[in-house]
Amino acid sequence: MEATVLMTIAAAVAVGIPALATAWAQSRIGPAMAAALAEKPELNTTAILMIAIPETMVILGFVVAAAILFR
């Protein structure tokens, strides 16, 4: 296979798998935070941050993908 094709696949995997992991993590955090907010509405900022925390995975995945494609 050509190097470009392999690099493209690698970049896709680098961003795709963390994206799935982020989605899974957020799917668990979302309902938990919704339940917590029903009891304690003052936790709204914490809720937003909690949702944002797993996004680190896909963001770093994106950075790796960019590094593969634009090195």
Partner: protein
């Protein structure tokens, strides 16, 4: 910054205590605290509320409850007053009666309005349906001794009507009539009139066929629709006038009692506060002791007032710094006007402890900077600035909306500046119009952008570690040294990396590695075996700043895609519409996502290095101030 506090002690004869408390309430400066335990062996005890005072407290709480309920019902905005002295007993009795009566009357009026609203809604709900029968009522009036049944049939079941007619004919012969009228909803109103003797058989027939008869509301002429419809329409016409009368009565009540209730609320709250601070007073048989904190800059004002009012009868002295712990002192954040809106961002966390660092000035610089770098577009920045101006115009001073508007301002400014650095105006539209980037094009140069983001992370994290050292150096010097050493090790790793990629001369690599080898065991000695893990976490924190690049690139990519829609989809007009829509979506994402991630970089990465939460809010003993609506 956290302003400097002083702890003071007041000593005086016990009979002067009520007067002293009133003066302190007028001053509104002293955050009271129970007297030090060190004084207890000298015969000092905590003052207790006398039985009479406990009864008074309960009584006043009840009256305040009535006043607040009445003011809430009548939407009277509370106003803070400054009552002269304690309220007289006859005033309290008068206020108690007024509050109770007003509350009862206000609740009665509210209930009346609710009933009228419900009645109106009910009539309107039935109106369309019953008015369909109006045209059929003439037929009903021609059968004075007959029984009428009002039935609703779905449009799709229209075929059931001839069957019903046939069934009725088979059951009771010709002693009935059926009239139908189609409704706007597609249903059919059916009126069945039968001779009175046959009514029982018809009812059985309808029940067997599961046909639901529409009930006539009992309060409008019993079971007869012919008398109910005119009664309902008359009532519908009367309701607005009745509602207006009730609302007028509410306004009159608010006008007649508002000022007095407001004055009562203020005086009674003040008296309750006075009673509440009594248990914070230390007393002996003949003397009292009060202790509390106040801002150091206000101490002379405080002492002058006490000296003026009590001469030598009450002594004020400063409690030496060695006698109190930092964590017991209350905290007041005080920042310049421009930085103050960012205190809101810090206040999401519990207040910082006294003696530590208020991160507001740093948040005021780095939050808009991170936001600006992520959005980085002149066009979006201008739209954001306009949005901020509009919010500023429509909001009240000191409201949450005004704070948001004041935060948007610097964010918009940094977005525009970053837009010039990256040469972006609504994505690549600027480039098409000849705009050149002053630094680099984010669209193309992702690696330089990544390096910029991570470099910012290094600066931010090192700043956090530096602040951690400054914050801990007095209380926990060992931890402070550990933080400092972590910062130095991060710098050494950076030097080694830069030397390895030949940005710096190779000699730096050897020196940095030697430095790291020396620093590592020292770090373990200072902070234990968790130190290497914490150091790795710090590196992870630095890499986390890569999100600035990731979100920035995502933002510019979406904007570029939006611009490419012009010409790509059918006509230019359609493409333009789609492009605008896409830019709108991108702008909405740009408002939300960079805000969340800039907050996260502060709360998780930056604050984690130095922030010490758990500060006590400065709540000076003063006159009651009603809560501001919308604040």
């Amino acid at each position: 910054m956290i302003i400097e506090m002083s702890k003071v002690r007041l000593l005086g004869p016990r009979d002067q205590l009520p007067r002293v408390l009133r003066v302190l309430q007028d001053l509104g400066l002293l955050h009271l605290a129970p007297p030090s335990l060190a004084l207890e062996p000298q015969g000092l005890g905590r003052a207790q509320l006398a039985t009479r005072e406990q009864r008074e407290r309960r009584h006043l709480q009840r009256i305040v409850g009535d006043i607040e309920a009445a003011m809430g019902e009548l939407r009277i905005a509370p106003a803070a007053g400054r009552p002269a002295g304690s309220p007289a007993a006859r005033d309290i009795t008068r206020w108690a009666r007024l509050a109770w009566r007003t509350r009862r009357e206000a609740e009665r009026l509210r209930l009346e309005l609710t009933v009228l609203d419900e009645e109106k809604a009910l009539i309107l709900k039935y109106q369309q349906f019953f008015s369909a029968f109006r045209s059929l009522l003439e037929a009903e009036s021609r059968w004075p001794h007959a029984t009428a049944y009002h039935v609703l049939v779905r449009g799709s079941d229209a075929g059931a009507i001839p069957k019903l007619r046939a069934s009725l004919a088979a059951t009771i012969g010709s002693d009935f009539e059926i009239y139908t009228h189609p409704l706007a909803s597609g249903e059919i109103a059916v009126l069945i009139i039968v001779a009175a003797p046959a009514a029982a058989r018809v009812e059985r027939l309808l029940a067997q066929a599961h046909v639901q008869e529409i009930p006539v509301p009992a309060e409008y002429g019993g079971g007869s629709l012919s008398s109910a419809i005119p009664a309902m329409l008359t009532r519908l016409g009367e309701i607005p006038a009745t509602v207006a009368r009730v609302k007028r009565r509410q306004q009159e009540l608010a006008h007649n009692t508002g000022q007095e209730l407001s004055r009562a609320a203020s005086a009674l709250h003040d008296r309750l506060r006075e009673l509440d601070v009594i248990p914070q007073t230390g007393v002996t048989a003949h003397a009292f002791v009060l202790e509390g904190w106040l801002p150091t800059r206000s101490r002379s004002t405080f002492e002058d007032r006490i000296r003026r009012d009590f001469k030598d009868n009450v002594a004020v002295s400063e409690v030496s710094r060695e006698e109190w712990a930092s964590e017991d002192a209350p905290v007041v954040l005080s920042n310049p006007r421009l930085l103050r809106p960012f205190e809101t961002v810090v206040r999401v966390f519990p207040l910082p402890r006294y003696g530590t660092i208020d991160p507001t000035p740093f948040v005021a610089v780095f939050f808009p900077a991170f936001f600006g770098l992520m959005v980085g577009d002149i066009g979006y920045g201008v739209v954001l600035a306009v949005l901020g101006l509009v919010l500023h115009r429509v909001s009240h001073p000191n409201s949450t909306l005004r704070t948001v508007a004041e935060i948007i301002g610097p964010c918009a400014l940094f977005t525009i500046v970053a837009g010039f650095l990256f040469g972006e105006l609504f994505g690549d539209l600027g480039a098409r119009l000849g705009l050149k980037p002053l630094a680099f094009d984010r669209h193309e140069a992702m690696i330089p952008f990544l390096l910029l983001a991570v470099s910012l992370g290094v600066v931010h994290i090192l700043l956090g570690l530096g602040l951690g050292v400054a914050s801990l150096i007095r209380r926990h010097p060992r931890q402070a040294l550990g933080r400092g050493l972590s910062g130095i090790m991060i710098l050494l790793v950076l030097l080694a990396l830069l030397a390895a990629v030949k940005v710096l001369p190779y000699a730096f690599f050897t020196s940095a590695v030697i430095g790291l080898l020396v620093a590592f065991p020292v770090l373990i000695v200072l902070e234990g075996f968790v130190a290497p893990i914490e150091l790795l976490t710090t590196f992870g924190n630095i890499l986390s700043y890569a999100r600035i690049m990731a979100l920035g690139v995502a933002s510019v990519m979406l904007a570029v895609v939006a611009n490419r829609m012009v010409g790509a989809i059918g006509s230019v007009a359609v493409g333009l519409m789609f492009a605008l829509l896409f830019h709108l979506v991108n702008f909405a994402i740009a408002l939300f996502s960079p805000t969340v991630h800039a907050l996260r970089l502060h709360y998780v990465e930056f604050f984690g290095k130095f922030y010490s939460p758990g500060g006590i809010r400065y709540q000076p003993f003063g006159h009651w101030i009603p809560a501001r609506p919308g604040a």
